[in-house]
Subunit: 168 residues, 2 copies
């Protein structure tokens, strides 16, 4: 058993012993979805004030809206959410490389077969975090799969201070 | 300002006032990534014992491995993670519909243009949660973009009890 798995088993035992919220409904009680980055320095539940059962939390590299579209459609069309809060963050890894770097790493570390498997995959890096928030919100606004009735807002979380600031 | 945004602003003010972890490194300290569902009833940080800065957390509808591939490649090739913990859960929304239902909802609620925009998008529903965990871990094992050196494990989280159980 790896130390990661040992920690999961031990920590979860403590969590389950104190767990009292086993009767929450499937649809998010506050009818919203958060899209944010997978970054290890973000705890969306605590930093963004999400109570258990209140909101879907979608996380991927960069907090990318396009990458989240499948999940957002399910969230809205099948589970009733009506608002999307998109949060990118300072110091994001996606600011530090370009597509060619990621494809180069795959080819060098994993070989030609891996490079062929991922083809022209867009890793969706970006050059400016505030602009990327604006671009993603604009993309959601323009998407016909996200109805105009869905409220959208875009934010930057500062990993240095724990603060969110409004962008759009 | 929506009540969702008001809650975000108010809660984050409290969080930032007590925030002391502004100097964490970008790469996850414990070199692992968790893939789990966006479900509102899951708090991965608390339930799976993740300390801030320790692990990437990727969340999407169903905790789907294929949907997470872009993020996992970045996590491993550019940010040094070496282990993936995949956690699906009881009572998942993905057990309750089929692709035709999601496509039907989009067409009925959003119209032909929206249906055309998403084309043949696979919403990735599944029929049995334990089998889906096994299938996703097998898919990661088979993927050339995930090197054999990456440790993989698959779990089911019980939203009724707060417990995780090992599947594979």
């Amino acid at each position: 058993m790896s130390s990661v798995v040992q920690n999961l088993v031990d920590s979860n035992k403590d969590y389950a012993e104190k767990f009292t919220q086993g009767s929450l409904a499937l649809p998010p009680a506050k009818k919203y979805a958060v899209v944010t980055c997978m970054d290890a320095r973000i705890d969306p539940i605590s930093a963004f004030g999400i109570s258990l059962g209140d909101a879907h939390v979608i996380r991927n590299a960069g907090g990318n809206a396009r990458d989240a579209l499948r999940s957002l459609i399910i969230s809205q069309q099948l589970l009733g959410t009506q608002e999307v809060v998109l949060v990118k963050h300072t110091g994001c890894g996606m600011l530090t490389f370009q597509n060619a770097d990621a494809h180069g790493a795959v080819k060098q570390n994993l070989g030609d077969a891996a490079a062929e498997e991922i083809g022209t995959l867009d890793f969706l890096p970006f050059g400016d975090v505030e602009q990327a928030v604006k671009d993603d919100v604009a993309w959601l606004q323009a998407s016909k799969a996200i109805p105009d009735s869905v409220r959208l807002s875009g934010w930057v979380y500062e990993v240095e201070t724990g603060k969110v600031r409004s962008v759009v």
